[in-house]
């Protein structure tokens, strides 16, 4: 992943980054219907923020956040759908190379749970067979309006070998936990089969610092 993400070493310092503590970077994609709180989960995880009326796009190519395990530091490169899920127009690029996925539904919206199952199928079809998948029942703070039972979702998750938690981006319940649970399941070490000799397109150009582009 030569050209993605920035200086991965800088964050490892927080965990008393000795030589033995490796930093591994993973691409994580979010899936789920519009308005189930995908972006809110990420914003809570990455920035500790929550906005009641989150705009439907977050305006970032992807966000990064790091979690520290005992023997390694996991840096997540988190891709948001940028709204392209709305009319089922997510590009294959989105799934490409993803090592982890969180499929999100809204516990107050039965339909979003059914759609989540479709996203799981889509991942099984499109993504790498080794992808670590988690199911997040979001908006757990609104349990009084619940239409998806915890047991139902848990049973489905077990059948499909998914990590499962109910989360709340609003109260931050289980938000860090679900990312941590994923981090623990990820293979720490260089991903197999990745071509290593890609070029870093950004590097020399930043030095050039030319204001004009394409004449």
């Amino acid at each position: 992943m030569a050209n993605r993400g920035g200086n991965s070493a800088s964050r490892a310092g927080g965990s008393a980054g000795t030589g033995s503590n490796r930093t591994c970077q993973f691409k994580l994609v979010l899936l789920g219907e519009s308005a189930v709180g995908k972006s809110s989960l990420v914003l809570r995880f990455v920035k500790g923020q929550f906005h009641e009326y989150q705009e439907s796009t977050i305006g970032a190519a992807f966000l990064t956040q790091t979690v520290c395990l005992d023997d390694a530091t996991v840096k997540f490169e988190i891709w948001d759908t940028a709204g392209q899920e709305r009319y089922h127009s997510l590009a294959p690029m989105y799934y490409r190379g993803a090592q982890a996925a969180i499929v999100v539904y809204d516990i107050t919206n039965q339909d979003s749970f059914q759609k989540a199952k479709n996203w799981v199928k889509e991942l099984q079809r499109q993504a790498s067979p080794n992808i670590v998948m988690a199911l997040a029942g979001n908006k757990a703070d609104m349990a009084n309006k619940r239409t998806v039972e915890y047991e139902e979702a848990q049973a489905y998750a077990e059948d499909n070998a998914l990590l499962f938690m109910e989360t709340s981006a609003k109260t931050s319940m289980n938000v860090n936990d679900i990312f941590m649970a994923i981090a623990k399941k990820l293979p720490i070490g260089p991903p197999p089969g990745q071509p290593q000799d890609t070029v870093d397109v950004n590097q020399p150009a930043q030095q050039q610092k030319s204001g004009t582009c394409c004449k």
Binding site: M1, A2, N3, R4, G6, N7, S10, R11, V46, K47, T57, G59, A60, A61, F62, L63, T64, A82, G83, Q84, R86, Y87, H88, S89, A91, P92, M93, Y94, R96, P195, D197, T198, V199, V201, N202, P204, A205, S210, C213, C214, K215
Partner: protein
């Protein structure tokens, strides 16, 4: 769907996706539609392999089992490489789209001369060793290259007496005592001209193109070309994601009946029973056939091989240029090769594409000199595509149509067309300072 869009973009080919991204970044409300259920239009990389077989050989065609897993294939429909120092790479960097993609250098660049394939020297050692030209010619050529490197059209002292306004490229070759073979090599394998017209024109643009080649080569060493992992189809997807990040709405698999006009000005697009309103339409020529004219044809042969191309030092990816004169044509023939190293084919498989501008009534015969260099071909898919240009520049109609993808092997003309369309559509040049998400995401 009741809202009105600032722009409706039709087709998710590379040009339309770049334009869509630029418009969204500029704050326009964009709806982007494709009639296909996949991104990329003419500039898609087809996957799985079954999709390629169905497209060319009919709905029941199936690839043979020895070609491996279908989804390990990503087969480009048009062959192009990115010049490492060219405008497409700059556009990718300035828009941040590089962050969605990974690139590799193409391993080698080759040129055909007198029935043989020669490596285009990539460094001084290779230049000394090459049998492309004799020893004395090499010295003259080196003097010429030194002059090219220091030439600056805006500084007369660097011209060394060669006036870019009055002298043709042929006169420059003559000045340095370079023979026709070297001129052929320089114009076609370095400056990447597809015919010889440039020889009789002022030399400035040719020198610029040679510089682009050598600056691109200097960037990563092996060749001047870059290619995205998983195929060129990643490029439109990357720019589509850019557009979506800035609020663009995407609908694939959406039929488009026609553009709707009122008093000669576009007001939207009809799709089934819906009319989607939009102030401007941007599209490829297939969505506005009444406003485009055919200006030529390109033939492209996609060849699946289970071996590298002979005489290319087992390159896993390369380009071979057959200069027109070598085979008695007006336009060059290009061969491009990609493989498992580029994540476009399973291990042991290669995709060679042979292409040229059509000059005769029998286009398949025209690419034979290219096909003959490939060795045994496991499967061949041939397409002859019409090249369209808009007949309406959109000033009144507000319909802005891109040109079809031409036979050039890189993206210079693509970028030029996109910037021209953007400028016509918005009456201003694209402001790369409006890209803000790059600082947002690195929140460390």
């Amino acid at each position: 769907m009741d809202e009105e869009y600032d722009a409706i973009v039709l087709g998710t080919g590379l040009k339309e996706c770049i334009i869509s991204g630029m418009l969204s970044v500029s704050g326009k409300k964009v709806l982007h539609i494709d009639r296909n259920n996949y991104y990329g239009g003419e500039s898609a990389s087809l996957t799985p392999l079954e999709q390629l077989y169905e497209k060319f050989h009919g709905p029941n065609a199936k690839p043979p089992s020895e070609m491996g897993r279908g989804r390990d294939w990503n087969v480009d429909l048009i062959p192009k490489y990115l010049m490492a120092n060219g405008p497409m790479v700059k556009m990718l960097i300035h828009t941040g789209v590089t962050r969605f993609l990974e690139f590799k250098s193409i391993e080698g660049s080759y040129v055909y001369k007198g029935g043989k394939v020669y490596k285009v020297p990539a460094d001084e050692l290779e230049a000394l060793a090459t049998s492309l030209m004799g020893m004395f010619e090499k010295r003259r050529f080196k003097k010429f290259l030194v002059w090219v490197q220091q030439f600056d059209e805006s500084k007369q002292e660097t011209w060394q007496g060669l006036d870019p306004h009055n002298m043709t490229m042929q006169q420059v070759y003559t000045h340095f005592g370079l023979d026709d073979n070297t001129a052929d090599f320089t114009g076609h394998a370095l400056a990447l001209y597809r015919d010889d017209d440039h020889k009789n024109q002022p030399f400035g643009p040719t020198v610029t193109k040679i510089r682009l080649y050598s600056d691109s080569l200097a960037r990563y060493g092996k060749s001047p070309y870059l290619y995205p992992l998983y195929g060129l189809g990643e490029l439109p997807q990357g720019f589509a994601r850019l557009s979506a990040i800035y609020g663009g709405t995407y609908m694939l698999d959406k039929p488009v009946d026609h553009i709707v006009y009122e008093n000669g000005k576009a007001i939207g697009v009809k799709s089934g029973n819906d009319i989607v309103k939009g102030k401007q339409i941007y599209c490829d020529p297939s969505y506005a056939t009444d406003k485009a004219k055919k200006v030529g044809q390109v033939i492209r042969a996609i060849c699946l091989l289970n071996h590298p191309i002979p005489n290319t030092n087992d390159s896993q990816s390369c380009q071979i240029i057959i200069p027109q004169k070598q085979v008695g044509r007006h336009y060059d023939i290009y061969i491009s090769l990609t493989s498992n190293t580029n994540m476009v084919a399973p291990k042991g498989w290669f995709i060679a594409m042979v292409s040229t501008t059509v000059e005769t009534a029998n286009p398949e015969a025209e690419i034979l000199p290219g096909l003959q260099l490939l060795g045994p071909i496991a499967e061949k898919f041939i397409s002859v595509s019409d090249i369209y240009e808009p007949t309406d520049l959109g000033t009144e109609s507000q319909v802005f149509i891109s040109k079809s993808y031409d036979a050039t092997s890189h993206f210079q003309t693509v970028c030029a067309d996109v910037l021209d369309i953007f400028q016509r559509g918005t009456t201003q040049e694209f402001d790369f300072n409006k890209i803000t998400h790059l600082s947002l995401e690195d929140n460390e």
